[in-house]
Amino acid sequence: MTSVVRKETQKQSRKRKSAKNHWFMLLSALAGSTILLLALGPVIIMVRLAFTPKINLREVPIDWIRPLDVSSFVDVIESEILRSILNSIFIAASTTVIVLLLSALAGHVLARYGGEKKDNFLMLVLGTRMGPAVIFAIPIYLIAVRAGLVDTPFSIIAIYVVYNLAFGIWLLHGFFLEVPKEIEEAALIDGLNEWQVLIRITIPSAIAGVIATAVLVFIMTWNEFFYAFVLTQRNMGTFPTRVPSFFGAFEVEWGLMFAANSLGMIVPVVFGILARKWLAKGFAGGLVD
């Protein structure tokens, strides 16, 4: 008798639980859609407007089913945006390669040598990565002017290397720490030198972290505006430095701006989604996991 009753209540509770599950799913879907609408809505609007004829940009509500129109893209490509995107690719790639080369070695040393005090290295990470760029803008600009380095790749890449180097070292040091010391020691005993250990053992074992570091440095460099604005002009101007040029004194070229922004965001969005596991770490200066 009691067992029958218990079975009944179990059945009921299971029923209630599954009803509760349906509600939970519905709520979860609703909340998720709201979040995505808020996070992606503005970006989707931007891309839609980039494909809209200029005279129709101001229409609200937005006509989502209007046929796509590429005239803004045609115009923006004529306005040298491709050159700035090529500049961005060149500058970001060079920075990434230099930072990786320097910080793989230094990160390895820090991982295997750094003692208790190495957390103080974080001050350098924070200072270079998260300090306001504008503080040193004047001296850096004056030095670049005197050395004739304004609007050359050297000055801007040098700044970006400094901007990312401490961060790169810190990140790689963390990834290298996860490589078991025993593997490295065994390789040393087998007769490899430390360089060979780094290249053949440590980096391949931490390859996901190395790629993540590269992607993060690339995104940061790609998106940087202030130093590019100060140190480059027409010749080496990166993608973000083109954006203010759409804001004329009397008229804003919204259509061109949306088209340019849509082209310029492809790289960071694709890289960002690929590296999503490490984004929190990357954007928090390597301070969180």
Partner: protein, 290 residues
């Protein structure tokens, strides 16, 4: 692995050279310029003036206003992004397919260039544009947000929060994932509801991480230049001029090199204090998680 002296030096020396030439040199240059009245507009003005630049900054009402604006900017950005980020983290750590999809796509705002975000929202906020239209269809008549003194600063700050709420969300989400699951199970046995579980068990354990996130967000919003530059340029008037924009104006528009160096130095001190706090709390987070 025990490393040799040679390997240590090949690792450290290039990095040391890069930092000393490209970082220390400008730093020393700031220390030199900040005691001088150099101006690029006036080639004759190049003399040692002692602490005059600092006196001038501390007596300049516009400097204090810029500091206040920076404070308001950071405060609003944090007050919006931290609570919403906590809610986002709780959502991301719930079960099911939707949170997984959101986890992938919600990161899009934070990988966009701040300049792209700023220019996009400048359009969306423009009169007769999308956001005023949404307001009007909800029956709210929005004032011109970017051209009203006072409102411009707060509006840009909310846009900053829009970009960085996902960062708060995913940092705290990773923090929640790292918590020891046995704690929840004990709570569940005690009959705790999901809501009680979050309030009484998850959040208190995340507190050290939360402090760290607040400091990181503070530092990020404090240095924000791009959005203010492209959305209002510090205007109308100087009503949304934050400290970085103030410094940029004196550096690259008024070309007062000596004075700018002094203001930069003051900012550097402020940032160093915050950095030291961040490092302290970082150690705290690590020692509790181990």
């Amino acid at each position: 692995m025990k490393i040799s002296r040679g390997y240590f030096l090949t690792g450290v020396i290039p990095v040391a050279i890069v930092f000393t030439t490209i970082l220390i040199f400008p730093m020393v240059y700031v220390l030199y310029l900040m005691f001088r009245d150099d101006s690029l507009l006036d080639p004759n003005s190049s003399s040692f003036v002692g602490l005059t630049n600092f006196e001038r900054a501390l007596q300049d009402a516009r400097f204090w206003e810029a500091l206040l604006h920076s404070g308001i900017f950071s405060a609003v950005s944090l007050l919006v992004s931290i609570p919403l980020g906590i809610l986002l983290a709780i959502y991301l750590s719930s079960q099911g397919l939707f949170p997984r999809i959101v986890r992938t796509l919600v990161i899009v705002p934070m990988v966009l260039a701040p300049l792209v975000v700023g220019s996009l929202f400048r359009f969306l906020l423009d009169s007769n544009s999308v956001i005023p239209w949404i307001g009007a269809s909800l029956g709210i008549q929005l004032p011109p947000l970017l051209s009203t003194p006072g409102l411009a600063l707060v509006t840009i700050s909310i846009v900053d929060a829009w970009q960085w709420t996902p960062l708060v969300g995913i940092i705290l989400y990773s923090g929640i994932q790292a918590l020891n699951p046995s704690v929840y199970e004990a709570a569940k046995l005690d009959g705790a509801t999901r809501f009680q579980e979050v309030i009484h068990i998850v959040l208190p354990q995340l507190r050290p991480l939360l402090v760290l996130v607040v400091l990181i967000r503070f530092m990020d919003s404090f240095r924000e230049f791009d959005k203010v530059f492209i959305m209002s340029g510090g205007g109308p008037g100087t009503s949304s001029e934050t400290l970085p924009v103030y410094l940029w104006r004196f550096s690259f528009q008024y070309l007062e090199v000596g004075y700018s160096a002094a203001v930069g130095f003051l900012m550097l001190i402020l940032i160093s204090v915050v950095s030291a706090l961040i490092v302290k709390f970082f150690k705290g987070v690590r020692s509790t998680s181990e």
